[in-house]
């Protein structure tokens, strides 16, 4: 249509000029030039607009000169003046509109450029349906998102379905490996995997609380099913209360995460090596301390025999040899005694402890391993667990050990289902804690050896973990047992007695 606009404007201008010049109506026909000016808004630039305005005014004056040139009346003067004023004012206004449109266009263009070219994936989304669903929940009397989640655990999934995608930038497509917008739009509910659901719940809470932005780190999938670690921000501007225009920006932090994980693994390996080295040093020095008196005993024994077997046995020397053997044996057992005293130097504490708290703290420490191995964690903690008396650090060691064992058992790629269940319960005068994995498990005949020191099934293991666990649990008056169904997983269970008086 705009292609014909210049032609239309020209035709109108000619018609008006003809009417204005050749007819003698008692009216200001030239006022109609404003239609030419307004039409030119759609095709002329700012300068062109001014030119057309001035040209229209010139035509008006020309018509006036032609038709009223010899004897202009005051009426025709007034009509000409009104026409010029109307054209002038319209041109001025059109000029200002044009300027405003140009500024707007520039800012729109700038936004488009940023949107398309930035290294951050940006999604324009419409959350109207989500917002409406949340408002309905509020009307239905749910006090907060938690209560709503309890009533309908699938709400997060449903909400994902309600999020409408308007547009995405190129970075989004490359980040997620999608061919085009439609591919991405179709795949989006799958790209938001189970691992991201927790984050979606938090986002829904942000919408519930009418916050203007939400930010979180989580894991998404790309179109090919690879996991991507992302940092994402959802901007929900206050001036769009229906959330019809929500901007989601996503940064791929997979590489950064991998570097962090490598660092973390190196740290863990270093700690392990240091432990082994420390134990190695300790072993060498203990071996030496015990070996010296042993050597003396053997040598004195040899000497004693020799004194006896001489043609004239020297019984005094035999006696001396035997006394020295006794003294050397005493020295060896002294070393062992000192060693025992050393290991019990840090006396374990005895304070009331809720195992649930210890588990919660431990989860923070092992969260990264659990997440990295894509383990589905389930906690079933008894609400009324009585406190036990014991050493916090030691019990934490036991739980860390059991959880890391479970996670490592499931780290083999052949393990498809990776579930870690941590349960606590109250038994007969004891609290019971159970850690169950879905790893390969172990053969039943091995369950007796599992807790022996230096018994390990891991290539880089020391075989000390479970042995230490058993010592710690035993020191707390409890028992630790292992059960396995080969191929289905292993479970470790420990009990610690509680005293009724501390329970109440």
């Amino acid at each position: 249509m705009s292609r014909f606009a210049p032609l239309a404007a020209l035709v109108i201008a000619v018609v008006i000029f003809a009417l204005d010049t050749l007819t003698t109506f008692d009216m200001a026909i030239a006022v109609l030039y404003v239609t030419v000016v307004l039409l030119s808004l759609s095709f002329a630039a700012k300068k062109g607009l001014l030119f057309i305005g001035v040209a229209c005014m010139a035509l008006t004056l020309l018509s006036f000169a032609v038709s009223h040139g010899e004897n202009p009346t005051s009426d025709s003067f007034a009509r000409c003046f009104v026409s010029l004023a109307a054209i002038g004012i319209t041109t001025l206004l059109a000029y200002r509109v044009k300027t405003a449109i140009a500024v707007l266009g520039e800012s729109e263009q700038r936004y488009r450029t940023i949107f398309l070219a930035t290294g951050v994936a940006i999604l324009e989304m419409d959350f109207t349906a989500v917002k409406a669903a949340i408002d309905r929940l509020k009307t239905n009397g749910f006090p907060d998102i938690r209560a709503a989640a309890k009533a309908n655990p699938d709400f997060a999934r449903e909400a994902i379905g309600m999020m409408k995608l308007t547009n995405v930038n190129n970075t989004t497509l490359t980040t997620f490996g999608a061919k085009d917008l439609d591919t991405f739009r179709t795949a989006l509910p799958v790209l938001i995997g189970k691992e991201m659901e927790g984050s979606i719940w938090a986002l829904l809470e942000a919408i519930w609380d009418v916050r203007t932005s939400y930010e979180s780190e989580t894991i998404m999938n790309d179109v090919d099913g690879n996991r991507i670690a992302i940092l994402y921000n959802v901007a929900m501007p206050h001036d769009r209360p229906t959330l019809d225009m929500v901007l989601v920006s996503i940064m791929d932090v997979t590489a950064r995460h991998e570097a962090e994980n490598e660092l973390h693994e190196t740290h863990a390996e270093l700690a392990h090596v240091t432990r082994v080295a420390t134990l190695g040093e300790l072993t060498v020095s203990i071996a030496h301390e015990v070996n010296q008196p042993l050597a003396a005993i053997v040598t004195n024994g040899g000497a004693g025999l020799r004194w006896l077997k001489r043609s004239e046995p020297d019984l005094d020397e035999v006696e001396t040899s035997m006394q020295r053997m006794i003294a050397d044996a005493g020295r060896a057992s002294e070393v062992i005694k000192r060693l025992r005293a050393l290991s019990s130097k840090t006396a374990p504490q005895s304070v009331p402890i809720n195992i649930n708290d210890v588990i919660a703290e431990t989860m923070m420490l092992v969260q990264r391993e659990v997440m990295n191995q894509r383990v589905d964690l389930k906690l079933e903690l008894a609400a009324d667990l009585p406190p036990v008396s014991g050493d916090h650090i030691q019990l934490q060691q036991v739980i860390i050990n059991l959880i890391l064992n479970a996670v490592q058992a499931m780290s083999d790629p052949s393990v498809k289902t990776r579930q870690l269940l941590i349960q606590t319960a109250v038994g007969e005068g004891v609290i019971v804690a159970k850690i169950r994995d879905t790893g390969p498990g172990f053969a039943a005949e091995k369950s007796a050896n599992l807790f022996d020191a230096f018994y390990t099934t891991k290539s880089n293991g020391m075989g000390m973990g479970l042995s230490i666990c058993r010592s710690i649990i035993a020191a707390h008056g409890g028992r630790i047992t292992a059960n396995a169904e080969p191929g289905k997983g292993a479970s470790f269970e420990f009990t610690i007695p509680f005293h009724e008086e501390t329970a109440s």
Binding site: N291, L305, D328
Partner: protein, 122 residues
């Protein structure tokens, strides 16, 4: 029978030193005890020593260093090493340097006496 041979023993662990001395003496040798390589070096030339038994790891001069010093100063006393840390590399080194024996603690009485007899034959 000729005059008893004289054997020197160096060990910084008193009970091992006493035990070794007891064993060697029970075979009819004359024994001189030293608690360090330094005190042994200081005594060289005082008495004739036919064979030296020395610990490898000692505070101050070690058994290996002692044997090097003796070789450099032309003292040709045969040496038997005993050590709490029998290491193949050290064994190869000292045997190559002409040691008579290299025994790990605790050692068998017979093997020490065999070593001494071999040393005295040379």
């Amino acid at each position: 029978m000729s005059e008893a041979k004289s054997i020197a023993i160096i060990d910084d662990d008193a009970s091992v030193l006493d035990a070794t001395e007891n064993l060697v003496r029970s075979y009819g040798f004359k024994v001189r005890k030293f608690a360090s390589a330094e005190s042994y070096l200081a005594s060289i030339g005082d008495v004739r020593i036919d064979c030296l038994i020395t610990d490898v790891q000692m505070d101050g001069i070690s058994g290996i260093e002692l044997s090097q010093i003796m070789r450099e100063t032309g003292v040709k006393t045969p040496i038997i090493f005993i050590t709490a840390f029998p290491d193949e590399r050290i064994r190869n080194r000292v045997m190559a340097a002409g040691a008579i024996g290299f025994l790990g603690k605790p050692f068998d009485s017979k093997s020490l006496i065999d070593c001494i007899e071999r040393a005295l034959l040379n």
